[in-house]
């Protein structure tokens, strides 16, 4: 059955919260810190304007959600001494928000603001790459992946980074998504060093993301400072990157023009996640297990990202009953 990402009716929403939603589906990492978090709700589809909510235990959260059947539910990434007033900030999860509708290198024909299975699977690929860096290079362990309804959230709860400042989070994001051109100046005077000849560290990460971005460019892509001819040449010769032959690619594009391409690619990479979400220490994020009413999908904690398919694992029952 083909799943249509259309809004849930009021009746369907009520049905979902009455019959399907279970407070035990809220992830443990939220329930374990319930009393330290701020909750927010959108009751009428106009944005989360019922904020500063707190719950003393899962039962009260359950009662509230069952009774209100909200259009959307959120909880803070921050832990507070006094969440009711958002005071006494203790720490925050580190978050990466990959919204399929905002992926800058979408290869599908979706209209602006829409998502389809192609861009959703692209968002999943990106999330996997993010996870690899967080785990492999950064050595982080408590990494949770959530399908948000129209994309993915990566929520990291390692104690060692939860007190990180907004500035450090900015740096982490830039590292993780390869959003900054590597600085290859060095004291030995090698002034023609290229990121792709360094098979480790940030250069390797940047090369990996740049490859991903370049391989997903289309004729319609718009890159700062890159004209149509240069874009066409990039598309023409990018097959070299499939075998990691960056040297050959660079030769074909030319040493000056490749600098323009790389700068533009770094800027595209910056848009792979919503950086504002990552650096905001007091953000609220969609509560996993609840309904994304605009697309009739469940926000879902992912147990196995390799096998996760939103069209199998995040569809509320009422969607199958639609005529």
């Amino acid at each position: 059955m083909e799943i249509e990402l259309k809004p849930a009716s009021n009746y369907e929403r009520k049905l979902f919260y009455r019959e399907e939603w279970d407070v035990n589906d809220v992830p443990d990492f939220v329930l374990d810190s319930l009393t330290s978090r701020e909750f927010g709700f959108d009751h009428f589809g106009q944005g989360p304007n019922d904020r500063y909510k707190t719950f003393q235990d899962p039962l009260r959260l359950k009662r509230f959600i069952k009774a209100k059947q909200p259009f959307a539910s959120y909880c803070s990434v921050a832990f507070y001494n006094n969440p009711k007033q958002r005071k006494g900030w203790q720490k925050s999860e580190l978050v990466f928000d990959v919204d399929a509708k905002d992926v800058p290198i979408r290869t599908c024909d979706c209209e602006e603001g829409q998502v389809c299975d192609i861009c959703l699977s692209q968002a999943k690929e990106i999330v996997l790459m993010i996870k690899d860096v967080l785990k492999g290079e950064m050595g982080l362990k408590n990494i949770n992946m959530i399908y948000s309804g129209r994309g993915y959230h990566v929520r990291v709860l390692d104690e060692s980074i939860m007190e990180a400042s907004s500035e450090l989070r900015g740096q982490i994001v830039q590292y993780v998504i390869g959003a900054k051109e590597p600085d290859l100046t060095n004291s030995l005077g090698f002034n023609n060093l290229q990121h792709f000849i360094i098979p480790y560290g940030y250069s390797r990460n940047f090369t990996k993301w740049s490859k991903y971005t370049i391989l997903h460019l289309t004729k319609k892509s718009q890159l700062d400072n890159v004209n149509k001819k240069l874009l066409n040449d990039v598309l023409k010769y990018r097959h070299f990157l499939e075998e990691d032959s960056w040297g050959a690619f660079r030769t074909q594009i030319g040493p000056r023009r490749i600098n323009k391409v790389i700068s533009a690619v770094a800027r595209i990479n910056m848009n792979i996640t919503d950086t504002k979400v990552s650096i905001d220490l007091k953000r609220i994020l969609r509560l996993p297990s609840t309904l994304h009413s605009k697309v009739s999908m469940k926000s879902t904690l992912i147990k196995n990202i390799e096998t996760f398919d939103p069209f199998d694992d995040a569809v509320p029952k009422f969607v199958y009953e639609r005529k």
Binding site: E137, G139, G170, K180, S187, I198, P199
Partner: protein, 452 residues
């Protein structure tokens, strides 16, 4: 031979030196050994004996003077050559602690003076590390390993251990080699981790190019800066419990202020009428606006309107009209009324320009989010109120213009750099530089913007 306390004032050796030489009553007494080192420093300018330190207190002041004057026309490195004579390390350490204590007690850890001390220490150590480069590679490697290990364990260092260092804003995460959270600093670790990936290239060279001395020096410098900051904070906390500080420290703190004022007046005197020292209102030169500001003024099409108008444009438009030199000023906690007492310019020029950009957004910003008008007032320093009134000023801070780094994070779409952007790190610096160039070329008002 260079000793580690010459670079690192926080080593155990350094602390021993302080307990040996740091008796307060001796700090203001002529010290023959110190004078000998100063007088026998190669290349030292000895023509004016009054400028040569004879006491440790004078040495402390000289350290500060070197830093403040080095960027002015008064700069005369030969006058301070002794600071870079490795033999001075024992007296230098005591002078360093003396400076920190004087500033902590009199001005506190958040003062402008405390920031200058941090910059001063960083500059001195950085220059000394440059001198170290003339030594053999082996010596450099051993010396850096030893000095750095006095502060951290270089074989077991995780990036999360350096959180505070990243917050200083001088070290980037992407400069480090990371593996499973560990920072690869030593050559042995480097080979173990990446050796199998390096083909047809010399591993030692690859190590030096991507980590090696450069990154070790950088971490060392930042750790010294961080420890200095912490030390000043500790002294300040302790001083609050002290009955009365030593008069010598108070005297030194006052001397520090005098040197600062002297440096300030020389800096401005040397700039004459050529440079811009705009700490008062100047007319807009819109041709000199950077691309991001221009883009924002044309209106933001979708997403990020609020941040672009409120957080980015409001500070830029207000400072570029009222005080473009904000970042070169000593005092940065300014209020709009300091430069526009009647708020006439603010009401008649600044607000209309911001509102015009807000109106150009799609959809117009105030149409669906009228509360952003209050946010604009708040970023101008007038609290969360509907109207701009002097009575409310100071309830919030007048936000300073956002740096390019922050713009890239908050509003990546706004940043479409042109050739001039490479030379600056803040849009207001771009503006000042461009105006200066325009004036120099005598092309005010008719300059074409490259790359726009």
């Amino acid at each position: 031979m260079i000793k580690t306390p010459y670079i690192n004032p926080f080593s155990n050796d350094a602390k021993e030196i302080v307990s040996k030489l740091g008796q307060v009553e001796k700090l203001n007494q002529p010290n023959t050994s110190l004078s000998n080192i100063v007088n026998h420093t190669r290349g030292q300018n000895l023509s004016d004996p009054r400028t040569l330190p004879e006491t440790i207190k004078e040495l402390a002041l000289a350290r500060y003077g070197w830093f403040l004057f080095r960027k002015s026309s008064e700069s005369n490195e030969k006058k301070y050559e002794y600071l870079f004579n490795p033999d001075i390390y024992e007296y230098d350490i005591v002078a360093f602690y003396l400076l920190c204590q004087a500033v902590a007690i009199k001005y506190g850890p958040d003062s402008h003076e405390a920031r200058l001390i941090l910059d001063c220490e960083e500059d001195i150590i950085s220059q000394r590390l440059e001198i170290l480069k003339s030594e053999s590679n082996d010596f450099q490697a051993t010396f850096l390993r030893k000095t750095l290990n006095q502060l951290i364990d270089t074989n077991n260092l995780y990036w999360t251990d350096l959180k505070e260092i990243f917050d200083l804003g001088k070290l980037d995460l992407n400069e480090l080699l990371l593996s499973n959270g560990k920072i690869i600093l030593e050559y042995e670790d480097f080979i173990e981790e990446y050796g199998h990936l390096i083909h047809n290239r010399d591993p030692r060279t690859m190590y030096e190019v991507t980590a090696g001395t450069k990154i070790k020096s950088k971490i060392l410098l930042n750790l010294i800066r961080y420890n200095t900051k912490k030390y000043i904070e500790n002294v300040y906390e302790m001083s609050k419990r002290m009955v009365e500080p030593n008069p010598l420290l108070i005297e030194l703190a006052e001397n520090i202020k005098e040197v600062q004022q002297e440096a300030q007046s020389k800096k401005y005197a040397s700039q004459g009428g050529v440079n811009y020292v705009d700490d008062q209102p100047v007319n807009y030169e819109m041709e000199a606006f950077p691309p991001c500001v221009r883009k924002c003024m044309q209106g933001i099409k979708s997403g990020g309107r609020n941040d672009a108008i409120v957080l980015f444009l409001t500070p830029f438009i207000s400072y570029s009209r009222l005080c473009p030199s904000i970042f070169s000023k000593q005092e940065q906690n300014m209020k709009i009324s300091d430069v526009d007492p009647s708020l006439e310019i603010t009401h008649n020029e600044i607000i209309p320009l911001i509102y015009e950009a807000a109106q150009a957004c799609s959809p117009p910003l105030f149409k669906d989010q009228p509360q952003e008008k209050i946010n604009i007032n708040s970023k101008l320093g007038f609290g969360m109120h509907n109207e701009l009134k002097l009575d409310h000023e100071g309830e919030t801070q007048w936000y300073t213009p956002m740096s390019c780094e922050k713009i890239k994070l908050h509003m990546p779409n706004l940043c479409t750099p042109n050739v001039d952007c490479k030379k600056i790190g803040n849009p207001i610096t771009y503006y000042n530089r461009k105006r200066r160039l325009m004036k120099k070329d005598n092309k005010m008002g008719q300059v074409k913007n490259n790359g726009d």
